[in-house]
């Protein structure tokens, strides 16, 4: 098993870079594991969108929560989940965060403030709203971020959750990752407006647009929204304009997007871009960044090795966890 040499103390900016690099490395590895049949179903790579999750979660405290989507690995890593149980989960092992029951689209880690990834497009926006309201009732000042996509913004539940969050002034931040495509559907044909952010005006809270490939810009706008929510002033809709560089999923490799469009966005790669910024500003050297990149890659390799060494869950336990403990269960009155 790879031994990970922890690099010496990383400062905040380096940590941000490390997170971006971790996500990228994790997704590339996940795609390999999928083609090697270690992963079933599908994998929806977050490649090209890393700055959104890292920027947003950079504005969160450990006791804040997030909900995620089918494309959720980046959110998990940005929120601080560990790579080993993540990799174990997506490879269906007993050592995974969800004991292999959830898989790539359902990673949950309550201990890390990860309420869960949701494979129903936009399915978790109302859940995030209710969790946020509940935290308020509990007298906590934690906030909840709901990630969803441009395609998800056309689901009725987004409308209901946004309106409900507004009238309850729930401490929730709606982060719409507008990567401009929903599988094969370009945003231009899915909506008849330029920006999704304008929809916030229909609910009475701010809608902000940010360059989703600029991790520091995302962090700033997220910080404003999170502070507003924490203050009790209610929700914000953040539209992060970004792009997925890889196909929709490992299971649907066909990609009808124009090569020029892809090239354009490859040039805007959020990681390379942040790296340039660090070097140009003198915050880090090329060498240091390479070192961090190797560190990220090593962590991912370690996680993959750990996962593939882990046992599969015992089919005999398959009915565990359908229901929480209850008298009627203990007494064998099964559903």
């Amino acid at each position: 098993m790879t031994v990970v040499e922890p690099v010496d103390a990383v400062n905040a900016l380096e940590e941000t870079y490390l997170k971006l690099a971790r996500i990228r490395a994790f997704e590339l590895k996940a795609m390999d594991l999928f083609s090697e049949k270690f992963i079933r179903g599908s994998v929806h790579p977050y490649i090209g969108m890393e700055a959104v999750a890292v920027g947003v979660c950079g504005a969160l405290r450990d006791d804040d929560y997030i909900t995620s989507t089918h494309r959720g690995h980046g959110h998990c890593i940005a929120k601080g989940l560990e790579l080993r149980p993540m990799m174990a989960e997506i490879t269906g092992r007993a050592t995974g965060y969800c004991k292999g029951r959830g898989g790539s689209m359902h990673i949950t880690a309550m201990g890390k403030g990860m309420l869960g990834a949701d494979a129903i497009v936009a399915g978790s926006v109302a859940i995030a709203t209710g969790a946020a309201y509940g935290l308020r009732l509990q007298g906590k000042d934690a906030v909840v971020v709901a990630f969803f996509g441009d395609g998800g913004s056309n689901q009725g539940i987004f409308h209901e959750a946004a309106n409900l969050a507004s009238v309850l002034s729930a401490p929730v931040v709606f982060v719409c990752e507008n990567n401009q495509w929903a599988i094969s559907m370009p945003i231009q044909r899915a909506i008849a407006v330029e920006d999704i952010a304008v929809r916030a005006a229909g609910y009475g809270f701010p809608g902000e647009i940010v360059d989703g490939n600029d991790v520091l810009a995302v962090r700033d706008v997220a910080q404003r929204a999170v502070d507003r929510a924490r203050r009790g002033d209610g929700p914000t809709l953040i539209e992060a304009k970004t792009y997925r560089i890889t196909p929709h999923s490992a299971a649907t490799p066909t990609d009808n997007r124009a090569p020029e469009e892809l090239d354009l966005w490859r040039e805007r790669d959020p990681i390379a871009r942040f790296a340039r910024h660090l070097v140009d500003s003198g915050a880090a050297t090329e060498d240091r960044l390479e070192e961090l990149g190797r560190q990220a890659a090593a962590e991912v390799e370690d996680a993959a090795a750990y996962a593939l060494d882990s046992p599969y869950p015992d089919p005999a336990d398959v009915e565990d966890d359908v229901y929480a403990p209850a008298d009627w269960l203990r007494e064998g009155r099964l559903a």
Binding site: G102, H106, M110, D118, A126, G134, L137, A161, A324, A326
Partner: protein, 330 residues
């Protein structure tokens, strides 16, 4: 003469008491729904709660059934015990995704990390001319949904005790209240009590025919029982009270003894809860112990019509039940 202090309460009043007691007992319990605040709910089940617990815990919601159910799921995930009212239960169709894909599955998908102590309750509103979109009896869908519990009380006493148990249970519960029973009175103890989940109540003893009936159908069964008793035919009326989990021990024991089973249910016949009870009974009771083929007395497979005579013709009737009894006795 009962020794415990009791009050005569309607089922609506009993449910209201149950909610109030649980809200007093546990600050993590709160309610949300349409017109449940100042208005006290269309059927007064939440009456007075706003005054006693305030608008933060008694929330008049916008008309967004999916939104409020989803909000309930989210709040449950972080430790609240929300009770979501669907004004008429037919509107659950708008929130099947939040209920089935989220509330019911979140714990399992998380490998047991979370639980979803959520109650989604509301009335089954048939029998009064509310027509097809306000009169459905849909418990069969939820019985078919792993991860959910389904509860259907038949009187005020059971309703209060079951609702309190439902709220304390750590699993998502669909709690179905027959609207025509809201105004029906029963003796309810003044002191606190709970009714265990998954324990059927034999509403009447008899050795000739086992009639499994829940909710409003219990009254129909008891009516038939009184009438048939005059002819010397004794019905045993088993009220499962909770449809999921289902107390098959009690049902199987009874059928093994009587050798005859009739299941009464107000839902459409095809794919209904009655079919499930029949099929499951055959897993527990040997064929040779059956004196007659199990029979189902259900609604017809049509939407619920508006006009009185039509609606009566669709819903299961006393005559339907008596006819079925005659068949299994012959």
């Amino acid at each position: 003469m009962s020794t415990v202090a009791v009050s005569e309460l309607t089922m609506a009043e009993a449910l209201n008491e149950g909610l109030r007691e649980e809200m007093e007992r546990d600050p993590s319990v709160w309610v949300i729904g349409e017109d449940i605040g100042a208005h006290g709910g269309l059927f007064k089940v939440t009456e007075g709660l706003l005054a006693d617990f305030g608008p933060a815990r008694v929330i008049d919601s916008p008309i967004s059934e999916a939104g409020i159910t989803g909000a309930g799921v989210g709040a449950a995930l972080i430790g609240c015990r929300p009770v979501v009212e669907l004004q008429i239960f037919d509107f659950v169709t708008l929130t099947m995704d939040q209920l089935v894909n989220h509330a019911a599955k979140w714990r399992y998908m998380s490998g047991g990390q979370v639980s979803v102590p959520l109650v989604v309750r509301g009335p089954i509103s048939n029998g009064i001319g509310m027509a097809a979109q306000h009169s459905q009896t849909l418990e069969a869908w939820f019985v078919h949904t792993p991860g959910l519990m389904v509860i259907m009380p038949s009187n005020a006493y059971d309703a209060k005790g079951l609702l309190k148990s439902a709220i304390r249970d750590d699993n998502p519960v669909v709690f179905l209240e027959k609207r025509l029973l809201y105004s029906r009175k029963a003796e309810v103890p003044r002191d606190e009590y709970l009714i265990p989940i998954g324990v059927a109540d034999v509403k009447r003893r008899g050795d000739d025919i086992t009639v499994v009936a829940a909710g409003a159908s219990v009254q129909l069964a008891l009516q038939a029982a009184r009438q048939l008793a005059r002819e010397g035919i004794e019905l045993e009326v088993v009220d499962p009270r909770t449809l999921k989990p289902l107390d098959m021990d009690t049902i199987a024991e009874s059928v093994a003894r009587t050798g005859r089973l009739i299941v009464v249910n107000e839902g459409p016949r095809a794919g209904g809860f009655a079919s499930e009870v029949v099929a499951r009974t055959l897993d527990h009771v040997p064929l040779q112990d059956l004196k007659a083929a199990p029979r189902r007395v259900t609604a017809r497979d049509t939407p619920i019509p508006y006009s009185a005579g039509l609606e009566r013709a669709v819903l299961p009737s006393l005559d339907d039940l008596l006819a079925a009894a005659a068949v299994v006795m012959s």
